[in-house]
Symmetry: C2
């Protein structure tokens, strides 16, 4: 494992001058894990040089398969990720992992700091692993994650695993940046029903029933296959795969890797890879543009414009819609 | 209870023509519950005449005390609200209730439809009660609720109770539009700790320990008083009150009403009422302005601009920040 994660403190020195960025990108492309770490830190911090980082990385995006891996706490996401990294390496892939799961043992070093399992890959230079906190970012997770994926693509990863917890809108959003989405379930957790409720069924390309040696595994597989059968799809449309695994015993992992490869083939054959990336890029552009506008409105908070308007609204001299129009006029929008 | 809630279907006819709005406001001010119902429905639906409704209501805002009432499911929010309405009526107040609590028996007629308890007020023309769904609004709850409060103010309510569940950011946001925030707790629910975690402690002006006849009530009161004692406050600053109640037996309700009155006196004496309203107005203006900008960006999604930019980003010819700048330039921002 390259020490992207192990050396964040040392790697987060000031990178304020714009000329540092192209150099960092060059070093990251040459495989320097410290440069990769710095770039992700910049991306995560929402640093003012972020647009420059994005500009420097732009030519190197788009060649990795982004695999989202999501599931409730306790289904075995980190164990599966760990084994999957091994299987993907065996298939010759360079692998990046972004762990955005607050419950994951290798997420949020400051919170848990337990990266024991991933130390399996500690000596493998073909693997980058990075925890990302799901809180406290300007513009939220959705702003930082696509750029972090670009950093890993720039560093030569051809598969980037993005691990999230499958609960909540933020996680579904993150999953939406994946080319291929894996949903992990475990028997007897009522997950099949949960998956339907959370809208996860719609986003899953591959279902992994982990802990498949447990009671109820057959029923869970049957439930999912039943739900898949109910879904209407045209000829040539992808039919979600169902794979069984026992990640703790490294069983079924090759089947997961095979399903990922199969889905990539399908994506490429049907022009879906390009389509998904364009959809993602559009969402990213929109999010950035909204963030800029939000910041501009926020800047008026410290001036006299917004307080003046607010006072008028509070005393009933103006309605809030007219005030908002005024505010936008002052922004020049 | 005026039949704002009982007749929503009949009251939601088309109000598209702008000349209807001033008439509705006039009728609402004269105490016509159907007009009040229609206006709240317009506000809730995010109808295009919303800015007109806001303009027509603007002169009549600001005289009601907005009381937020929040707490976990099971603490007895609806029973307390019901009794509190009675106590406030006895003090001569005209009372409006906005129930935005999905677990509340009188919330979301379509979901639960059980308004049994509130039928205590069914014959009282000085009480307006309205359920609001916390989902599916353009711009979210935060956009609709302040306008619904204005409708009730316009209809002559001098106290508006806004009932929400005390979990989640959305509810804390709604509580932030209150002049006075009541946090309901019950013994033995670990609520004191939950309150700290959820940041509810900071927003509470009055703590109500309901079900005070249960085991652990003394401990809960002690816990809260301990937390209040730890908080630093300057001279003249409001010190949160702790009140015990057994709403199911109508005990302690007058104490809650007295605490609400006391807080209003304090707000007025310290200029806080005006300050809170200005802060709220500022937040409201910002939210509306952002909504307008979001809609404008959204309108570009259907044109060729955003897809063209997204394709360039997807192929690496452009980075997303430069694309966002382009997009904003096209918006004229």
């Amino acid at each position: 494992m390259s020490d992207v994660q192990n050396a964040p403190a040392a790697a987060t020195g000031p990178v304020r001058r714009s000329r540092d960025v192209p150099m960092l990108v060059e070093r990251a492309r040459a495989g320097d894990p410290r440069a990769v770490a710095r770039l992700i830190t910049l991306v995560e911090s929402g640093d003012e040089v972020l647009p420059q980082v994005a500009a420097a990385l732009a030519p190197y995006g788009g060649q990795a398969q982004v695999v989202g891996l999501t599931g409730s706490p306790g289904v075995g996401k980190s164990t599966t990720t760990n084994e999957l990294v091994r299987a993907l390496r065996a298939r010759g892939h360079r692998v990046g992992v972004l762990a955005i799961d607050p419950s994951s043992p290798f997420t949020g070093g400051a919170i848990l700091g337990d990266r024991v399992r991933m130390q399996d890959h500690a000596t493998d230079p073909g693997v980058y692993i990075r925890s990302m906190s799901s809180r406290g970012h300007l513009g939220g997770l959705s702003a930082a994650t696509p750029q972090a994926v670009r950093v890993l693509e720039g560093a030569g990863c051809d598969v980037v695993l993005v691990e999230t917890v499958g609960v909540g809108q933020a996680e579904v959003e993150v999953a939406s940046l994946a080319d291929t989405t894996l949903v992990l379930l475990a028997p007897g957790m009522g997950d099949a029903i949960q998956a339907v409720k959370a809208g996860i069924l719609e986003i899953a390309d591959v279902f992994v029933v982990n802990k498949a040696d447990r009671d109820g595994a057959d029923a869970t597989v049957r439930d999912i296959q039943g739900m898949i059968a109910l879904g209407e799809r045209g000829p040539g449309e992808w039919r979600p795969q169902v794979v069984r695994s026992i990640a703790a015993r490294a069983e079924g992992i090759d089947d997961i890797a095979a399903a990922i490869d199969k889905h990539r083939d399908w994506l490429e054959r049907h022009g879906e890879l390009r389509r998904r990336r364009e959809t993602r890029a559009a969402a990213e552009i929109e999010a950035i543009a909204l963030g800029v506008l939000r910041a501009r409105i926020g800047s008026l908070r410290d001036g006299t414009q917004l307080p003046t308007l607010a006072a008028k609204v509070a005393e009933g001299a103006l309605d809030p819609y007219a005030a908002a129009e005024d505010l936008l006029a002052q922004l020049g929008s």
